[in-house]
Symmetry: C2
Subunit: 135 residues, 2 copies
Amino acid sequence: AQMALERDYETQREYDTRYRVLSEATRDAFVFVGTRSGRVIDANPAACTLLGVARADLIGSAFSQEFDGRRRAEFVETLNLRAMDNAAEPIEAEARRSRTPVRIVATAFRAAGEPLILCRLDAAETQGAGTGEMA
Amino acid sequence: AQMALERDYETQREYDTRYRVLSEATRDAFVFVGTRSGRVIDANPAACTLLGVARADLIGSAFSQEFDGRRRAEFVETLNLRAMDNAAEPIEAEARRSRTPVRIVATAFRAAGEPLILCRLDAAETQGAGTGEMA
């Protein structure tokens, strides 16, 4: 059991590290969201910059909170529907803290635990930016 | 031991899956290279497209082979030096198969096994493209 635990730890560290290094090196902004809870599981530095929030404040909070005029249940439902449809259009929203219009490209997947949604946040071309609500 | 093995499998699957989903969703091109061997450990779809090579042909082969006029030992040494220096300039090279000028941004890190280098390949602005050698 001891050897199995050690291998467990080593294996976890290998993928954990590759995952972390990749998420820090990519210039795209990514947020992992729990399908059922709608809460942020993880976010990379590019996403924190785009949203204008510290990673520690983002993780565990409702992802809908980061956008203006988005009710949580409705936002999670939209995210789920788009995530399951490969041909779906991105979700257009405005980041509440940074006032940046973003397009959210969502992909649903299942790992070991809770089903997750990977959201790529693309900064949208700023046409009519600063007008506030985009609900 | 059976429970530990099951947890091992589940934990590995969690990070393995997140890593794979992230590497497929990012628009940046990434290649993981073994520090000592100079061989490709993994590459994402964007990298395969940029280099013009099938993933199966890339994995396990010497990364230097993908570039014109690069001797393997010298290429691996340059990659290692740049990867350890955060302030280093990207390496300029031309992808042999796709004839695309690229900039390689290298980051060294150590996971459970062999030390690795994460290479982000940025397509360089095509000034004087098509002239061949850029060694």
